[in-house]
């Protein structure tokens, strides 16, 4: 049976924990708004780029000499996995769900006899994956605690990926990130970056696609568009991760605040019971003492 003093100490410590978690929740909520706005603002570009690329790809696909970024080499021996997580924790299962998804994919590829390389973006993912797949780590990159995510950062990652591809260090690249579905749900998503999967809207895109004129010419445009598309896809994933992270953190901190509240209630009840029991015990002692006289 803990003493009254112990209980008081515990109630106070849980109270200060609750203060911290509720403050973190507020901070996450305000950052979420900005991150979500940024993620939504970036969507039109990514969508239009995808549309343009699919029309272009329809023109070039199947022809010999199509750029490698688009069609690949036909090999799929070495896989590169780009896993995007947050830099910080305290966001529930946000980071570990990416870790789990990546681990499952890696295990599956290894079982198929493929070679796997991992590029971790974000500190948490790096720490998590390095523990399990130290030999497979091809490198890591971090946001460095910067407040906003710039396109230049995504470009840096994209350049690194395409440099590796040019050196023929991998055949297939897959991106794993948390898609921002809503504040309380982020969905771990896999997306193949290289070679580019054929566009989903096949039937409609083909007809008018053939009629486009190109200036200077298709090859040149495609050679510019493909690396740009890579950067845009990564940028988008980073923004969604950022928004999702604050969403997950907000939810996690909300839960923590509520749990702390429950705990305070339980401890307070316990405290009052103990206090009453002590008083009753003292009274009994006094009364029985008086009776004995």
């Amino acid at each position: 049976m803990p003493s009254l003093k112990d209980l008081r100490g515990r109630i106070n410590s849980v109270k200060s924990t609750r203060k911290i978690t509720s403050a973190m929740k507020m901070v996450a909520a305000s950052k979420l708004r900005r991150a979500q706005a940024q993620a939504e603002a970036a969507r039109p570009y990514a969508e239009r780029m995808e549309a343009m690329l699919s029309r272009l790809a329809a023109n070039v696909a199947g022809r010999p000499g199509a750029p490698r970024l688009l069609a690949g080499d036909g090999a799929d021996r070495v896989h590169l996995i780009v896993a995007i997580t947050g830099d910080r924790g305290l966001a529930g299962a946000f980071n570990s769900s990416i870790g789990r998804q990546t681990r499952n994919l890696v295990r599956r590829l290894l079982a198929e006899g493929k070679t796997v390389k991992i590029l971790a973006v974000g500190r948490k993912g790096r720490d998590y994956l390095r523990r399990d797949f130290y030999d497979a780590m091809a490198g890591d990159m971090m946001f460095g605690g910067r407040r906003t995510i710039e396109f230049a950062q995504a470009q840096e990652i994209a350049e690194r990926v395409s440099a590796m591809f040019d050196r023929r260090e991998f055949d297939v690249a897959t991106l794993i990130y948390n898609r921002f579905h809503s504040v309380i749900s982020q969905i771990p998503t896999e997306r193949q970056l290289i070679p580019l999967p054929p566009p989903a809207t096949e039937g409609e895109g083909k007809g008018p696609g053939a009629m486009y004129e190109f200036e200077p010419d298709e090859e040149t445009i495609l050679n510019r568009l493909l690396p740009q598309n890579l950067a845009v896809q990564i940028y988008r994933a980073m923004l969604e991760t950022n928004a999702g992270f604050y969403g997950a953190q907000m939810t996690a901190m909300d839960n923590a605040t509520r749990n702390a509240g429950d705990m305070i209630k339980k401890l307070t009840l316990n405290y009052n019971r103990t206090r009453q029991a002590n008083i009753t015990k003292e009274l009994i002692e006094i009364i029985s003492g008086a009776e004995a006289v």
């Binding site: 343009m52 396109f151 486009y212 200036e215 445009i221």
Partner: protein, 133 residues
């Protein structure tokens, strides 16, 4: 019938409205898009997009390069970076020019792709500085 012009950069959608005509700085010379233009996909150099309404030049945007897709009733500009000309900052432009000049000096001139990319950046930065005044 006007053309629907959309200017998007990776960061945001800058403009989406109907205009009478728009002139985009294509890699091989300026190109005006009006209604019923033949469908084209063009590469952009660093330069100015000018919007025309009712025969008069209106809004101007600086783009640092990118792509434009033109069809009979639409013109979509995917800019690497786009800013209204009035909001260009002189210091930012200078900084970019310095970077581009350094990039040009260090570029491997034997590699055509690298050389062209560095040259495009340099020209685009020069244009930006000129516009920023």
């Amino acid at each position: 019938m006007p053309v629907t012009l959309e200017i998007v950069s990776p960061a945001k959608l800058l403009l989406s409205r109907e205009v009478d005509m728009v002139v985009v700085p294509s890699a091989e010379g300026d190109l005006a898009a009006q209604e019923n233009h033949a469908p084209m996909i063009v590469l952009l150099r660093g330069g100015v997009i000018t919007v025309y309404d009712g025969g008069k030049a209106g809004d101007q945007f600086f783009v640092a390069g990118g792509f434009a897709e033109i069809t009979g009733d639409r013109c979509t500009v995917l800019a690497d970076q786009a800013v209204p000309v009035a909001e260009l900052s002189r210091d930012a432009a200078r900084a970019r020019l310095d970077d581009a000049e350094k990039g040009w000096e260090n570029a491997d001139k034997q590699d055509i792709a690298v050389r062209d990319a560095a040259l495009d950046r340099l020209l685009s930065a020069r244009e930006e500085v000129r516009l920023a005044g």
